[in-house]
């Protein structure tokens, strides 16, 4: 439960203005210099802008559309609209006039706040179709000097209107703020479905602040810490994690000078929290690798040596082992010489918390960042459900979404779907009771994601519900999830899960990682000739069985793997087993290796597989291999 005087964004802002008047609240680079705004200044800006909005006719329950880059004015406008009892409607900066028109019209926004000429022009283009739009307020006058239109007002002009309004209505702002309750709608977040028009999720102050507080429990940050605000403010992620932390704990918000200067500004600020999507973490990792390859000889050498040490650290962390003094010293040295400067270069000098979104990320990327000393934590949530799960610092396991947040109750439906309840839920879709009824059932939000809760209480994401398959006995399983988890093992390069509606259990075809397994075989004095030969060794089956055992331990009963084979070759796009983008062609594979699949499910100990091989000179040959079928829960036959 939130305290009454802390249950809305404006109330929190008001409290911060009283509590920390001289402390920095926001920082934005202007003319090459970081300009700081104190809580008192922010409160004042919001106050007069809010009164200005009231003067322009904004009433409780009305909505204000905002479009622009993340800059202080964006948030002042948001808080001001909320202080006047209104809700914020964020529009993404890259939306075209037709989309701007749809959102502004659908949300019945009377007032719009736009960054600059580019965004103002979008409203000008569609103004005739938006009869209820009264004013468009801009905060960057550049390029607008030749505009003379009664629809337009500058940010400062609205502030002036507010000051005049205060003269005739003293205490109006304080009264407006006091009237707000946690149940008031703070914002409308438009989410694009895969089909049809975007839906507008109404999100209350209670929901945003609850999510923010739960986020801070897992990722502590105080009013001395810096956040960097660059995720679109029209997206709930910014609202429930960043903006909410800013107001609830007074975390300093920093803004880039331009979207193009984010990397540079990030480095100067060195924020406490760094959040990227999985793709961006992968891109950054690649950037580092490319740059290191281009670096001078000495740097390259140091990097190569110390990266190995880094991976050792990652391994120890993964196994939850405390490094001994020797490793600790080496790790400290590698940090000092290589990783600290590297992290600094990418704005992560003071990064204590690094988060990634709920989409899947490759294990290699996780390990790479872990080696560099950055431990990525998951944040799982949605516009409708708020903050659902995330990693605590002491319990990071990359195969899960982390612990369920303190504001969410989670249950798995009979269909395997993740359902969420709690104070962070949205309040329904604007003007769409039908969709609301489909999503919100008996107080539980349907996420559309399939998942389960593992033995340690972590939430695990399997796949989108629509992509989940079913066995003959009705049990659900997510092939891509199981395959992805198998690939976490250094011994397994690829895998294909068998199952489907005609079979009662899962089996898996495994491609070994020839390089790693070959090294392992040498270390253990196991002789082998070819890939095919190595893959069928009994010792190897034990090694892989241990990997499968570990995975099975994490999986619910019906998703456990019962049988496996170690394939005699790699999947090959040239033989149409993979698509050119390296996706498995399941149907084709099952047909092509029908004999093998039958052997697995009919309990045969092995099967001869013939493979046509094309030699370099064009001749064709046939290679015969006996592939053994292994059982996952039985020792060697």
């Amino acid at each position: 439960m939130l305290r009454k005087e802390e249950e809305t964004f404006p109330k929190l802002l008001f409290r911060n203005g009283q509590k920390w008047p001289g402390l920095t609240a926001m920082r934005k680079k202007n003319f090459g210099v970081w300009k700081e705004y104190t809580w008192k200044e922010c409160l004042e800006k919001v106050k007069y802008f809010s009164l200005g909005l009231t003067h322009l006719g904004l009433q409780r329950g009305d909505r204000v559309a905002i479009i622009g880059e993340n800059e202080p004015e964006w948030f002042w406008a948001e808080f001001a609209a909320q202080a006047a009892g209104g809700a914020m409607v964020g529009i993404y900066t890259d939306m075209v006039p037709a989309e701007v028109k749809y959102i502004t019209g659908h949300s019945d926004a009377k007032l719009a706040v736009a960054n600059d000429q580019e965004q103002v022009d979008k409203f000008m283009e569609v103004r005739k179709e938006l009869p209820s739009l009264r004013k468009v307020i801009y905060w960057d006058p550049r390029g607008l000097r030749n505009y003379d239109d009664p629809l337009l007002l500058s940010f400062d002009e609205v502030g002036e209107l507010g000051k005049r309004y205060e003269a005739s209505h003293p205490q109006a702002f304080e009264e407006n703020v006091a009237k707000g309750t946690g149940e008031d709608i703070a914002a409308l977040y438009y989410t694009s479905g895969t089909t049809g028009l975007p839906k507008a999720a109404m999100v209350s102050h209670r929901a945003l602040i609850s999510s923010g507080r739960a986020f801070l429990e897992y990722n502590p940050a105080s009013n001395r810490e810096n956040f960097f605000s660059y995720m679109p403010a029209a997206w709930i992620g910014e609202g429930m994690f960043i903006t909410s932390s800013h107001l609830a704990n007074g975390v300093i918000l920093n803004f880039a000078e331009e979207p193009e200067t984010i990397q540079e500004d990030l480095r100067e600020i060195a924020p406490h929290v760094v959040s990227y999507g999985p793709r961006q973490w992968e891109d950054l990792a690649r950037t580092i690798q490319v740059r290191m390859r281009e670096a001078g000889f000495l740097n390259r050498l140091l990097y190569r040596i110390f990266l190995r040490l880094g991976y050792k650290r990652a391994e120890l962390l993964e196994q939850n082992r405390e490094p001994n003094l020797f490793w600790n010293l080496l790790i400290a040295l590698s940090d000092l010489l290589v990783f600290y400067p590297l992290r600094e270069n990418f704005g992560m000098k003071k990064c204590q918390i690094a988060t990634t979104g709920s989409a899947a990320m490759s294990i290699d990327t996780f390990r790479f960042w872990s080696a560099l000393g950055i431990r990525l934590k998951q944040l799982y949530g949605s516009t409708e459900a708020g903050f659902v799960a995330g990693h605590r610092s002491e319990e990071i396991r990359f195969e899960t979404l982390g612990n369920i947040s303190s504001v969410a109750a989670v249950k798995i439906s009979e269909g395997g779907e993740i359902l969420v309840k709690g104070p962070a839920l949205f309040s329904g879709y604007h003007k769409d009771p039908e969709k609301t009824a489909q999503t919100l059932i008996d107080g539980w939000v349907r996420t559309g994601d399939a998942g389960f809760i593992d033995q340690r209480g972590h939430l695990v994401f399997l796949d989108r519900l629509a992509d989940v398959s079913r066995l003959a006995n009705g049990a659900k399983y997510a092939p891509q999830y199981v395959e992805g988890r198998l690939r976490f093992s250094p011994h397994i390069k690829d895998a294909m899960v068998l199952g489907g509606e005609k079979r009662n259990y899962l089996a898996v075809i495994i491609i070994i990682d020839f390089e790693n397994v070959g090294k392992w075989a040498e270390d253990h004095r196991i002789n082998y000739t070819t890939f095919a030969d190595l893959s069928q060794k009994n010792e190897l089956s034990r090694l892989i069985r241990a990997d499968i055992d570990r995975l099975n331990g994490d999986l619910p009963e019906e998703m456990r793997i019962k049988k496996f084979v170690l394939f005699h070759k790699e999947f090959d796009p040239d033989e149409a087993e993979l698509t050119r983008t390296r996706k498995l062609r399941r149907g084709f594979m099952e047909e092509r290796y029908a004999q093998l699949v039958n052997a697995i499910y009919s309990g045969q100990p092995g099967v001869d597989v013939e493979a046509r091989v094309k030699y370099r000179d064009g001749r064709e040959g046939v290679v015969k291999t006996n592939i053994k079928v292994w059982s996952a829960d039985e020792e060697d036959r």
Partner: protein, 263 residues
């Protein structure tokens, strides 16, 4: 931040009286007269070797005409050295970019402010008192130009590694850093693609409109000239063959002959 006043309140006036310039037997300029009336964008056009760049060089002092005189704001500058003319507020850009390639954008622009620095080497090195205030002020002026020309993302990038279009823009920025009363632009759009040309045209118009700085520019792209110039002067073999508003010039048979050749 209050912007330092970069505009020139008084109307600048440039007058060229029958200037002639010869290199040996080659008559580069032959009795050219020209009058820049206060605030306008004046375009100089003409075929290759018509003497356009020579004319600019005479104005900013790289060349001294053998006969004729040049006045700027009522003061004769025919024989003044280059730095004096710069101090009077004549700034120029070059056809081929002339920047310090090893320095960053910011440093290139700050370097252009050297004539506005009043403190000595010693005080400035110590970064003390007035020198410090002065340096901050210069940085402010330069930052406004950076903001104006939208080159914030490359503020700290070495100029040599930047693409051509951006370097052209930085050169324009350097000319602005002098706080000029007259801008001479030598083919500001040569070698640019359509988009870069449009950007540059917009910046030139913005400079003219927001900062009220008169501009003399040499340009080959007639489309651009038609769009932004208030008046056009046509040179051919060192002689002025026409002068007037762009629409009139484009219909002038003599200009068509000089420009397009006889057909």
């Amino acid at each position: 931040m209050n912007s330092p006043d970069l505009s020139t309140p008084d109307k600048s006036q440039l007058t060229l009286e029958k200037i002639s310039l010869a290199f040996g037997q080659l008559q580069a300029l032959n009795g050219v007269s020209l009058d820049l009336q206060g605030n306008e964008i004046l375009a100089i056009i003409g075929p290759n070797g018509a003497g356009k760049t020579c004319l600019l060089n005479c104005v900013n002092g790289f060349y001294r005409p053998q006969t004729g005189s040049i006045f700027f704001n009522g003061q004769e500058i025919t024989h003044s050295p280059v730095y004096e003319r710069t101090q009077l507020g004549i700034a120029r850009t070059f056809q081929n970019i002339e920047l310090f390639n090893g320095l960053t954008t910011l440093e290139n622009l700050l370097a252009a402010r050297h004539m506005h620095f009043h403190h000595g080497f010693l005080v400035a090195s110590l970064y003390f008192g007035g020198a410090r205030r002065e340096e901050i002020r210069h940085r402010e002026v330069v930052e406004q130009i950076i903001d104006f020309l939208e080159i914030k993302p490359i503020r700290k990038k070495p100029v040599g590694a930047l693409p051509y279009g951006l370097r052209k823009r930085i050169e324009l920025g350097r000319a602005l850093a002098i706080e000029p009363k007259l801008l001479l632009l030598d083919e500001p759009m040569s070698g640019m693609n359509v988009e870069e040309k449009e950007d540059m045209a917009r910046f030139i118009l913005d400079i003219y409109e927001e900062r009220k700085i008169p501009i003399v520019l040499i340009e080959h792209d007639m489309g651009v000239v038609m769009d932004i110039a208030d008046r056009v002067v046509v040179l051919d073999f060192g002689t002025k063959i026409a002068e007037g508003p762009p629409e009139e010039i484009s219909r002038n048979p003599e200009v068509i002959k000089a420009y397009l050749g006889e057909s």
